[in-house]
């Protein structure tokens, strides 16, 4: 059955409540707050799998990290270091959320729950508990468990249990080998991984050691661009301030660099000479890659460790010469391994249904066996008196001295024997060979999918990967697509598109002018450096900037770009900007393109190359982003001794703190522009400025210092300070950043929707942006009714949900009246949390399933066929849980791909994959299953009819050899070839009429009715095969093997012609296999019978012809009748293909209708 687990589990961890702070630990007050990195996620109420929460978190990250200074005297950032004493501490934060973070990390971990890691002392660490070593195993089976576990896997299939019984009765071997091969490949990959080298401290120096031998507690050194062998707490790094940059692309799919910190207590130590001793007390291994709680006892001091102090396996060290850390989790206890807890084995929907019918067939089989054995009992009783001497039974054995019963133990035993024997005779009723054929067919289908040139991505040079071989046909039955947005629908490349500066809209031109690029290069030493990313610029704006001083307009533009290059947390390494937020990156690159090149950023100052003029700005203060203010600000000491406050933030938070009365027109114009930008699907930010007078600055300074030394509620106090200063701002302008959609996404989504697939996009964008992106990728259309839920209290949520329910009910009713208007549900994250907290999930789900489009929503449970597509590690659980998981293999990590069933390069490939290959695969597989059931049943029925005429003695006229060869040689190849190669409709037709996909969704190819109808036909055909020769040869000299040959040939010819009749496309291959099989059967029959003079009389030929025609008439008539008078869509599609361009020319208006129909428009 389909899973009933929720697709995405909310994490059990409750959101931290700021009010309930535990008493501060002994080592407080601490002048230096915890680095706030990572805190962004500590309040994330969801599991890491939710893109929604992650993306909203990302918005926060934008303003979050980086260098900042407590408060130096203006213009003397360097002196601050001296001021702050012996500590070389640089990394202070105003730490708006640091309290919470500190609380979280200083939370006492009870001894039972904790693991103790003795730094540099693996022996002691592993003394009490043997922690897992660092070797990993991703293969499902080991040498010892392969056989039992594989058997268990196989036994999931009902038929295999049956098969086991048959195997015991019949001693038939079986060999499921493909699983073994898959697993062998995984083992090989593991071996390579396990044998990589890490440098581990032993006897005062770092020595190479294999990854698999690394143990918890060991001190490890990792160099730049090396992967981390295990999860480790940073002790020191090459950077004097203890910063390390890691790339987490393999972990969460994000390509930007993250900053991690070593603790000040440890970063000065040189492990080789001065061994660090201490105990880390950390939580038990868990799969939360964004959280880590631990305390470190070092030199009698208790230091708290958080997510910003740990680097995880799977990451790579970047831009940092080396890091030294202590291993805390190793091997399968690492967070990355816990997250990739083996892909659950999936079973295709078709196969599940097939198992149901297999049960039905087994029932029929038992019924047949019962009939035979019961009648045999009756027959024996009726003939009881004759059997002793009857020449054909001869119960008595005269060869012994005493007359004994020969091979006869009474009627009861005889009935039981007959029953068992009849199971053996009728066993092929259950098509065991079908499972083998299905594997082969899937292999072939996968090959053709991989080879499809339309699924090849030029940019990443990657083909489609079929990672799961047993759910090909599920691709043809998808009803829901859950898509990640960033990186899946979009390219995850932020591009600065337009700016509104003091009420003037500047749109970037499409062609970057090469002349302008010369200006943004920066001289470093003797070399000219140019920003890596090209940005489209607006020529007017460039001209304006270069037009010289004086103009009021220019001043605003100047400040705007200065704000962009200053107000961020981006690191600049030779004009290669690294930061946690792609949006900030885009802004800095944009500023660079306009001539404001951020050259250098240190903790106390930045150097900006302004139009070729290098200037130094002191960063006097920094208020990082937090989710309440939704903005960040920097206080900059300019070279002209003015102090400026730059603020950047989300538009609704910024508009509140603007001094609107100062420039009413500009604010209004900017608002209009903002609306226009978000309607274009751009991510918007508003930038403001205020010049601080000396008094204001000192007031701020003192209140800031006061706040940062507060014991309780420090973050609140700091937030207050920030809010106080971030007011009465002049508006500078707004920016619009585009996260470009991937090629063909709108068309793809439109096709999917036309195909009747409900598309759910999971995104964390702002609601307006989400909606506009929805429009731009044709997810939403103007004629849809939108249900918007964005309420901020539980009650309001409940109410709006009730309204939504009412609305969806109304819509359902309208289906009966006038047809349906498509519904779109748009729900924001907060409401979603409220709904999920209040156990309104059921209601939400009801509303959501009634809608055609759901935006910004997380998935609850579903019984319908689902497909999840994503690109990052946060999509892994979604991919694993969905019926079909698709990974986008692109620039982001491999996690999604590793967890996926299919991996491809572009979102738009979903259309050919589902609509073309999915449709074909479903069509082929469903036909193959029905056909195989029919094929074996017809043979069994022929055997059955004959047994009724043999005194129920289970003798067969068809030789045992033929029984064995029947599903191996006589009829096997055509079904496999048809299963791989036949196609009902051409690619062109399927793409042109996406609605044809509905055949799979409605399970037209294979359902109980199809099965039962086929079974009725099977009985008719078997009767034709049996009774025509029977009646024709009754009262003749015919012997068993001769008439048996007619039956054998009759079955094989009929079954193959049946297939031939259902074949959609006759290629030379189909001709070869179908006719080849009949010829092969003929040869086999002659060889087996060895009476080479098989009597090919006229009667014989007439029998065969009669079998063929009589057997096929009902099916053929029904098929032609239905095809002509009640045509299926597929049939019409085939006729359309045949009719060629005629209707395309004539019925242009009709062509348009599918599009309108799918949109649900009713004018």
């Amino acid at each position: 059955m389909a899973f009933v687990r929720p697709l995405l589990d909310p994490s059990p961890r409750p959101p931290p409540v700021p009010g309930s702070l535990p008493p501060p630990s002994a080592d407080l007050p601490r002048p230096i707050a915890e680095p706030p990195i990572g805190s962004d996620l500590s309040q994330n109420p969801f599991d890491s799998s939710s893109r929604l929460s992650n993306a909203s978190a990302r918005l926060r990250v934008d303003y979050n990290s980086g260098d900042r200074v407590l408060f130096p005297e203006p213009g003397s950032a360097d002196s601050f270091r001296r001021v702050s004493g012996s500590r070389t501490a640089v990394r202070h934060g105003s730490g708006a959320e640091s309290d919470r973070f500190g609380v979280a990390s200083l939370r006492e971990i009870s001894d039972e729950d904790a693991r103790f890691v003795y730094i540099g002392d693996p022996a002691r660490t592993n003394e009490r508990f043997q922690f897992t070593g660092n070797s990993i195993r991703t293969g499902k089976y080991s040498v010892f468990t392969f056989i039992p576990r594989n058997l268990f896997e196989q036994f999931h299939r009902v038929a295999y249990i049956y098969f086991l019984i048959i195997a015991i009765l019949n001693q038939l071997p079986s060999s499921p080998s493909s699983d073994g091969y898959e697993d062998w490949r995984r083992h090989r990959a593991d071996r390579i991984e396990n044998n990589r080298t890490a440098y581990v401290l032993s006897d005062g120096e770092f020595r190479p050691k294999l990854w698999k031998d690394v143990r918890v507690g060991e001190i490890i050194r990792v160099r730049s661009n090396e992967s981390l062998p295990c999860d480790m707490v940073l002790l020191s790094t090459s950077d004097p301030t203890g910063v390390a940059y890691v790339q987490t692309i393999n972990l969460d799919g994000e390509s930007n660099l993250k900053t991690r910190y070593a603790k000040q207590e440890t970063l000065s130590k040189v492990p080789e000479k001065d061994p660090v001793t201490g105990v880390i007390r950390c939580e038990q291994p868990n799969r939360n890659i964004y959280g880590f709680h631990a305390n470190m006892d070092i030199q009698g001091k208790k230091v708290s460790l958080g997510a910003s102090n740990i680097v995880l396996r799977g990451c790579e060290i970047k831009n940092t010469a080396w890091v030294v850390g202590v291993a805390v989790y190793a091997g399968r206890e690492t967070k990355v391994m816990l997250n990739s807890s083996g892909a659950p084995s999936k079973r295709s929907r078709l196969e599940t249904h097939m198992n149901r019918e297999t049960m039905l067939l087994a029932f029929i089989l038992v019924a047949m066996c019962s009939i035979v054995s019961i009648f045999a009992g009756i027959w024996l009783r009726n003939h009881k008196d004759e059997l002793d001497y009857s020449p054909y039974f001869r119960k008595k054995d005269f060869s012994e001295k005493e007359e004994e019963n020969y091979n006869y133990d009474g009627i009861g035993a005889e009935v039981a024997y007959r029953f068992l024997m009849s199971i053996i005779v009728f066993q092929i009723m259950i098509p065991i060979s079908l499972y083998i054929s299905m594997e082969l067919v899937r292999l072939g289908q996968a090959y053709l999918m991989i080879q499809d040139r339309n699924l090849f991505d030029e940019t990443t040079n990657s083909r489609l990967q079929c990672r799961a071989l047993n759910i090909n046909e599920d691709l043809g039955q998808i009803k829901y697509v859950f898509s990640d947005k960033t990186g899946t629908l979009t390219q995850n490349k932020m591009e600065f598109q337009c700016a509104s500066i003091s009420g003037v809209d500047y749109q970037a031109e499409m062609d970057p002018l090469s002349a302008d690029h010369a200006d943004c290069s920066v001289r470093v030493g003797d070399q000219f450096w140019r920003p890596k990313m090209r940005v489209n610029v607006n020529t007017d704006l460039v001209k304006l900037l270069r037009s010289g001083h004086g103009r009021e307009e220019r001043k605003y533009v100047y400040d705007f770009f200065l704000a962009l290059s200053a107000c961020n947390t981006i690191n600049s390494k030779l004009i290669d900007y690294q930061g946690e937020s792609p949006d900030e990156q885009a802004l800095v690159y944009a500023a660079a393109a306009y001539g404001f090149v951020l050259v250098e950023r240190t903790s106390g100052h930045i150097v900006v190359d302004i139009l070729g003029n290098r200037q130094r700005f002191d960063i006097l203060g920094l208020h990082e982003f937090d989710s309440d203010r939704k903005r960040m600000s920097v206080i900059v000491g300019c070279p002209d001794k003015t102090v400026k406050l730059f603020v950047k933030g989300a538009d609704n938070s910024m508009l509140g703190v603007l001094e609107e009365s100062l420039d009413l027109d500009v604010v209004q114009a900017t608002k209009n522009h903002l609306h226009a930008y978000s309607s274009l699907g751009l991510r918007t930010l508003v930038v403001g400025i205020r010049e601080l007078t000396g008094g204001e600055f000192h007031e701020w300074k003192s209140s800031y210092e006061r706040a940062s030394t507060t014991l309780f509620g420090r973050s609140k106090a700091l937030r207050l300070v920030a809010s106080n200063v971030e007011s009465h701002l002049h508006i500078l302008g707004a920016s619009g950043i585009e996260d470009k959609l991937q090629d063909g996404v709108p068309e793809a989504i439109e096709s999917l929707r036309e195909a009747g697939i409900k598309v759910w996009v999971l995104t964390g964008d702002k609601q307006e942006t989400a909606i506009s992106i929805g429009f731009s990728c044709k997810l939403l259309t103007t004629n849809m009714d939108q249900i918007v839920i964005n309420s901020h209290s539980k009650e309001a949520c409940r109410r709006s949900l009730e309204d939504a329910m009412a609305m969806s009910r109304k819509h359902l009713q309208m289906v009966h009246d006038a047809g349906r208007i498509s519904l779109a549900l748009i729900i924001d994250g907060t409401s979603l949390v409220h709904i999920l907290e209040n156990e309104l999930e059921e209601e939400l789900f009801k509303v959501a399933t009634a809608c055609d489009v759901v935006l910004c929503c997380r998935v609850s449970r579903t019984e319908d066929m689902t497909l999840a597509i994503g690109d990052g590690a946060n999509d892994v659980s979604m991919i694993q849980m969905a019926d079909v998981g698709i990974g986008i293999s692109g620039q982001e990590g491999r996690q999604a791909v590793m967890a996926s069933d299919f991996a491809m390069g572009q979102f738009r490939f979903l259309v050919p994959l589902l609509l073309v290959h999915g449709h074909w695969n479903y069509q082929r597989m469903s036909y193959m299953i029905v056909y195989n059931f029919y094929r074996n049943a017809v043979f069994v029925f022929v055997l059955f009819w004959y047994i009724l005429y043999t005194g129920f003695s289970l003798s067969t006229a068809i030789t045992e050899w033929s029984s064995v060869l029947y599903s191996i040689i006589y009829t096997a190849l055509p079904t496999i070839v048809v299963g791989i190669l036949d196609k009902d409709l051409s690619r062109k037709t399927l793409l042109k009429y996406p609605q044809l996909y509905g055949a799979g969704q409605r399970e037209e190819g294979y359902n109980l009715n199809v099965f039962l109808l086929t079974m009725v036909d099977t009985i008719w055909q078997s009767a034709a095969i049996y009774f025509i020769p029977y009646l024709a040869y009754r009262n003749s000299t015919v012997d068993g093997s001769s008439i048996g040959n007619i039956w054998t040939l009759g079955v094989v010819i009929l079954v193959n012609v049946h297939l031939a009749m259902d074949l959609f496309r006759w290629t030379w291959i189909s001709h070869v296999v179908i006719w080849g099989c009949i010829v092969a059967t003929w040869i086999c029959v002659i060889v087996i019978d060895s009476s080479l003079s098989c009597p090919a009389s006229a009667l014989f030929w007439l029998c065969l012809l009669g079998i063929l025609v009589v057997g096929m008439i009902p099916r053929f008539a029904l098929k032609s009748f239905r095809g002509y008078f009640f045509p299926s869509d597929i049939r019409i599609g085939r006729e359309l293909e045949k009719a060629g361009g005629y209707y395309e020319a004539v019925a242009g208006s009709i062509e348009m209708r599918p599009v309108v129909g799918a949109g649900g428009a009713r004018s």
């Binding site: 080879q451 003798s955 012997d1039 068993g1040 048996g1044 290629t1067």
Partner: protein, 330 residues
């Protein structure tokens, strides 16, 4: 980071071939009304003449069937036929008179027909040793033959098995007006059996008294050993190679040795001519006529409905979502 790959990697783009792109040239037959009507009409037009021909051929066959198992038991033993047949002192000779209804052209085949004799019973079919029958070296191979494998003193039985030991042993003699008709009992078995399955060096030592003849010469045994498919069957006894005139009376002298009374079997003597369709059997002709007629009927129905409710092929307006633009999703 999307730095352009330093060395242009080898492109993994799949090579184009019609096979891998699933574009093999193909014939795409559609069951259009034209095709359907033609097919059914064609079937009808073939089947009806064939049916008529085979019916005609079957009618031309002259067949004389005479059940004698009851009639050959003397009146006083009718109540206990088993005692009669088991009594070796009883004279088993019996005379039957058969009248030739129509001219019977030579060769006239003589069959015996047994009814309710399960020669296809599993116990029975298995009880033989092909190896023993094939040649001298297989003589000892009697495992499959039980319960007729070995004599009570342990020597092997040749030929072994229930089949051989239940061989039909009634004999027929024919005469017209006291003139004996020769019965040719040669070439009644299949050549493949005679030459490949039964050895000339295998002698039925437990089976016959007098001079032993190799099995391959014993055609009546070979015929018997080719077990019948159905519980009512005929086996070829011999051939009469002269024409029989209408209304002639044939005297048949039967040695009624074979015990069918123990299991309620029936015995018949059959004299029959043949045609290209074989013996007398109207079934195939009738079946061909029936289904030929049915096909024509279907063809006619199709034409009729096609005229009443025509549909132009490949009209997109018949697509379900065009017929019912809003309801397709369910």
């Amino acid at each position: 980071m999307d730095s352009p790959s330093p060395a242009r990697r080898h492109s993994k783009k799949p090579k184009y071939s019609k096979f891998t792109q699933q574009e093999l040239p193909a014939c795409k037959p559609i069951l259009s009304p034209g095709w359907v009507i033609t097919t059914f009409a064609f079937i009808g037009l073939i089947f009806i003449p064939v049916g008529l021909a085979s019916l005609f051929a079957s009618q031309k066959v002259v067949e004389i069937v005479d059940r004698y198992d009851v009639a050959c038991v003397p009146e006083h033993l009718q109540d206990d036929k088993l005692a009669y047949i088991q009594n070796s002192t009883e004279d088993k000779t019996c005379t039957r008179k058969l009248k030739v209804p129509r001219l019977m052209r030579s060769p006239i085949f003589i069959y015996y027909e047994l009814e309710n004799f399960y020669q296809n019973h599993r116990r029975y079919v298995k009880s033989r040793s092909d190896k023993q029958l094939r040649g001298k070296e297989g003589e000892g191979d009697t495992e499959s033959c039980s319960p007729e494998a070995k004599t009570s003193n342990g020597s092997v039985i040749v030929p072994c098995g229930l089949i051989a030991w239940s061989m039909f042993n009634d004999t027929y003699g024919f005469s017209i007006n006291s003139k004996v008709l020769d019965v040719n009992k040669k070439d009644i078995a299949w050549n493949s059996d005679k030459y490949h399955k039964f050895g000339s060096d295998v002698y039925p030592k437990n089976f016959q008294s007098g001079p032993l003849i190799g099995l391959s010469e014993q055609e009546d045994l070979i015929v018997w050993m080719r077990t019948a498919a159905l519980p009512t069957f005929r086996k070829l006894y011999g051939k009469i190679e002269v024409d029989l005139e209408p209304n002639e009376e044939i005297m048949v002298t039967i040695h009624n040795n074979y015990n069918t009374y123990s299991f309620g079997g029936k015995k018949r003597l059959v004299l029959s001519t043949t045609s290209w369709i074989g013996g007398k059997n109207d079934f195939l002709g009738m079946a061909y006529l029936t289904f030929g007629g049915l096909s024509l009927l279907i063809a006619a129905t199709f034409i009729l409905i096609h005229l009443i409710r025509p549909r132009s092929l490949g009209d997109p307006s018949y697509l379900s979502w065009n017929k019912n633009p809003v309801g397709y999703s369910n």
